[in-house]
Amino acid sequence: MLAALSLLAVGAVHLQQYNELYSAIPTIGTLFVLNFVAATVLGVGLLVPFERLWRRGGAWIEATLALGGIGVATAAYVFLLIAQRRPLFGFMEPGYNPDAILTSQVSEIATVALLGAYLVVRHVPIGFRGRRSATRSTSTQEVKA
């Protein structure tokens, strides 16, 4: 839930900054809109309990959405870091609006951290293997019984 809200905040900041300033900048302006659309779609998707709705495919959908969210947040963070140092698509960002930049970076880091933690807890192979071995031992006990 927090990760989804954080991702939605990433998109919201980009939409606000697009409206405020960046709509006139070729490529960068388009990327701001794409960031908002992607972050909103993925953020809302992460709030849908796919795993509960569709047990088999739901987990994969949630993992894909989480990976997508990490990708969107990471791309936004990296692109900003590059644009602060040298022109990116012809545009260099000196920090016009420090508050917006801080909000964006905090929400991007939070998104990556929270979605990363979610993926580790729910989907890493080691956890999967742990659950499988636990299932196997339970089955063995059942057979013995």
């Binding site: 839930m1 989804a4 809200l5 939605l8 905040a9 998109g11 919201a12 900041v13 939409l15 606000q16 900054q17 409206n19 405020e20 300033l21 709509s23 006139a24 900048i25 070729p26 908002f36 909103t40 953020g43 809302v44 709030l47 849908v48 309990p49 509960r52 022109p87 012809g90 545009f91 260099m92 960002e93 000196p94 920090g95 016009y96 609006n97 420090p98 508050d99 917006a100 909000t103 964006s104």
Partner: protein, 173 residues
């Protein structure tokens, strides 16, 4: 289930609300075009301990190093961030110690106020009485700029000839 969908809708609405209200800290007013008069006034005002050139509304004025020669390079999307101090006719009023006000014709046909031949701009993120764009390095369409707030002391040393409706012509030195 219904509760989760409601939460999702609320989150989406919150995101849109943030966007609409300026969640990034902007006030939403900076895009509005600043008024231009037939006789744009330039004055000096003390802001943060500096004698800064301001327009009639008290907005700080800026110049870029790359345009010190009088060649207009801030065009297109640059104007979204750095708004030319335009004048609709005549000459700007006001005096600047150590500098001369004039005008030049921009590529888009507008007339822009100059200080010693260098075009003057507003920074669209400033409010009257604020100087937030001093020292910024940015780039638009691959053209890099270094911006400085215009002060009586940092006017380009050599006044350049103005075009269009003509500058004041005198150097002021």
């Amino acid at each position: 289930m219904k509760r989760l969908f409601a939460l999702a809708a609320m989150a989406f609405a919150a995101a849109l609300f943030l966007a609409a209200c300026g969640g990034g800290g902007g006030d939403g007013s900076s895009r509005s075009s600043r008024p231009t008069g037939t006789a744009t006034a330039v004055a000096t005002k003390r802001i943060d301990g500096k004698s800064v050139l301001v327009d009639a509304n008290g907005n700080a004025l800026y110049m870029s190093d790359q345009e010190a020669s009088g060649a207009v390079k801030c065009t297109g999307s640059c104007g979204q961030f750095w708004e030319p101090l335009a004048i609709q006719g005549g000459q700007p009023s006001g005096t600047v110690s150590g500098g001369t006000l004039g005008v030049l014709q921009r590529p888009d046909g507008k007339t822009q106020v100059t200080l010693n031949g260098a075009p003057l701009y507003h920074f669209t993120q400033d409010q009257p009485g604020q100087v937030t764009g001093d020292g910024f390095d940015d780039a638009f369409d691959g053209q890099q700029f270094t911006w400085h707030v215009a002060t009586a002391g940092n006017a380009p040393s050599a006044p350049m000839p103005t075009s269009g409706s003509g500058g004041s012509g005198s150097s002021g030195y």
